[in-house]
């Protein structure tokens, strides 16, 4: 059975519904959470998460985000990761940021490729936080080697060339690359474009887990009940 990870943008659509969504994830057996910290220039994100990021930044600041993150960690017993962009960490100071998110399992930086991980790794390691490695359909053999080195509990495989959201497909070549990394003992989770049960099924048939972002945030925009219904539907797949 593959792992299911849900991405939620911190304090979106409101601080209260974010926390209630975290509770739903805990109660419905979601395996891990990715908490997005918004950035003013989210180049890896599609329209929906970009718009949500701007709205969140208008209403909250970093202190609010870390407060909600710690509340989420109290509620959610599984692994919690923070996903954001390089400058949210760098601009504040890597060590200072790492201290503020103490206790999370890992950090995912959308614009930090394998070759620039060196800049951030030390600061996070001191707090026991993994820096999650990415692979993509464009990755070459040497990239896969690089990702395996020092990888934490999973490698994040970006399913497609493009931003978050959109459609989910996996071509043969990509499936081959996922297989290569798994063959070397790494757990690989797939994200970007995963929406429905059938996508989760497909992802979990070739990898160790699936991450849903845009569609989960869109669900929560409709209300916590709609979100709960959506998560319930996904979980049924894995039971």
């Amino acid at each position: 059975m593959g792992k299911l990870g849900i991405y939620l943008l911190v304090n979106y659509p409101s601080a209260e519904s974010f926390i209630r969504a975290v509770k739903v994830c805990e109660e419905r057996g979601v395996d891990f959470l990715e908490v997005g910290f918004p950035f003013s220039d989210p180049v890896a994100d599609g329209d929906l998460l970009e718009r949500a990021s701007y709205e969140t930044l208008k209403r909250f600041n970093f202190d609010d985000f870390t407060e909600s993150l710690q509340e989420a960690r109290r509620i959610f017993k599984g692994r919690v990761y923070v996903m954001t962009y390089a400058n949210v960490v760098f601009g504040m100071g890597i060590n200072a940021f790492a201290k503020r998110v103490e206790g999370i399992t890992g950090i995912i930086l959308a614009d930090v490729p394998l070759r620039e991980i060196w800049l951030f790794e030390k600061g996070f390691k001191k707090q026991g936080i993994n820096l999650v490695r990415f692979l993509t359909p464009e990755s070459r053999a040497q990239d896969i080697e690089k990702a395996l080195k020092g990888a934490g509990d999973f490698i994040y495989f970006v399913s497609k060339r493009g931003t978050t959201g959109g459609d989910f497909t996996l071509d043969e070549e990509t499936i081959g690359k996922i297989g290569l990394a798994r063959g070397r003992g790494a757990d690989v989770y797939i994200g970007f474009g995963i929406k429905e049960k059938k996508d989760v099924d497909l992802a979990c048939s070739v990898a160790d887990g699936a991450i849903i972002g845009t569609k989960a945030v869109e669900g929560l925009e409709k209300g916590v009940e709609a979100f709960e219904g959506y998560i319930k539907g996904l979980r049924a797949v894995n039971e």
Binding site: S40, D41, V43, Y54, P113, L114, P137, R161
Partner: protein, 389 residues
């Protein structure tokens, strides 16, 4: 080629783009060695773009300032700015790489027009992203691009200026990386862009150095250029950076004043950060969120700056100063009336600084990089009341 300029530079982009950046680096090195392509590029720079550009002794401006002022006339190039030096180079490179499609961002529209022009010339599909605010304030350039067969995509999201246009171009590139070359218009972005753009623009400095030696028999005291992303400045500085007695100065946009959000003076008021692929000075808040910026000049309205400039600032080799909107607007009139040259508002920032700090330049020989012409700025100038004089 330099991957890092001191502690600045790097490749802070989504992992998907890394193989494309490697491919670009390899292809560029081959392109540089390829004699046939280099010759073709030189021919196009000469016969199509109009190089070498004159180094013009602006006598009336000089006597107004009590200095010897030379203008490096990049404004006389085809399409009206230095941008075409880089677009000719990069589109030839993209063709060399077998790419079929060009995407670009533009602020003032000068890079967009240059890209659209060379795309037409070399038969490439071309899409230009432009912030909505800029589409409105640089409408003439939008029309020019469309006439040249380019698709202009107005970007409404975010600030609606150059920064948002780059975000959107990066998103396009991640999606279409196999077929598309992203033609970055300044010395910004992930390696190898700052190096490639810098090399394509360095022709400005090479020419200027040879020209001043021929005209005066000595090197200038001062070389000065405006800095948004910073490509025209790097282009001219590269010709003089090893001449220790030549003082180099970059002028940033002070906008309406030094409150955050009112200016684009990245090197003067920013601190190191990561935006659009590189570590460099950045205008940002204490939480690392990129600030809103302002300049009357769309080409300078950017919160970041090329990593090479950050390094030149830290080493002290280049001094970075500020010219405010109203000083630049005034300088536009002064140059128009004294010399019969309408400068781009970007370049007018340099002249504005000279006019405001006359005493610094008294008796000196100064080369100003006049990076573009001002025809594109008529709308802004009308709103600023300049046309009524």
């Amino acid at each position: 080629m330099r991957r890092w300029f001191g502690q600045y530079g790097g490749q802070f982009v989504p992992e998907t783009l890394i193989p494309a950046l490697d491919e670009l680096e390899t292809a560029y090195k081959e392109f540089k060695k390829d004699k046939r392509h280099q010759k073709e590029l030189q021919t196009l720079l000469k016969d199509f773009a109009g190089r070498p550009t004159p180094l013009y002794c602006a006598e009336r401006l000089g006597s107004h300032l009590s200095a010897k002022i030379y203008l490096k006339r990049e404004d006389l190039l085809h399409t009206g700015a230095h941008k075409i030096n880089n677009t000719l180079g990069q589109i030839m490179l993209a063709k060399f790489m077998g790419k079929k499609r060009i995407i670009a961002e533009t602020g003032a529209g000068q890079h967009g027009v240059a890209t659209a022009t060379v795309s037409a010339l070399l038969d490439m599909e071309c899409v230009v992203y432009m912030g909505k605010t800029d589409v409105e304030r640089q409408a003439v350039n939008v029309d020019r691009m469309r006439l040249l067969g380019t698709t202009v995509v107005p970007v409404e999201k975010g600030s609606g200026t150059l920064k948002s246009a780059i975000n959107e171009a990066l998103r396009d590139w991640v999606k279409n990386v196999k077929t598309t070359h992203y033609l970055i218009g300044s010395v910004v972005g992930p390696y190898p862009f700052p190096s490639i753009v810098g090399e394509f623009q360095s022709v400005i400095g090479r020419e200027a150095r040879a020209q001043i030696l021929k005209k005066e028999g000595y090197l200038p005291d001062q070389v000065i250029a405006c800095v948004g992303g910073g490509s025209n400045a790097i282009g001219i500085f590269r010709g003089f950076v090893n001449d220790k007695d030549v003082s180099l100065m970059g002028i940033e946009a002070g906008g309406t004043g030094f409150d955050l959000g009112c200016h684009s003076a990245t090197l003067t008021k920013g601190r190191p950060g990561i935006l659009h692929g590189a570590i460099s000075y950045l205008l940002q808040d204490k939480f690392g969120q990129v600030s809103d910026v302002h300049s009357v000049s769309a080409g300078l309205d950017y919160p970041g700056v090329g990593p090479e400039h950050s390094s030149l600032k830290d080493s002290g080799r280049v001094k970075y100063k500020v010219c405010f909107d109203k000083e630049a607007l005034n300088a536009f009139s002064v140059l128009s009336r004294l010399e019969g040259i309408l400068p781009a508002l970007e370049s007018a920032h340099v002249l504005g600084y000279l006019l405001e700090h006359k005493e610094t330049f008294e008796g000196k020989t100064v080369i100003v990089n006049l990076s573009g012409r001002g025809d594109k700025d008529m709308e802004i100038l009308k709103q600023g009341g300049i046309h009524n004089g």
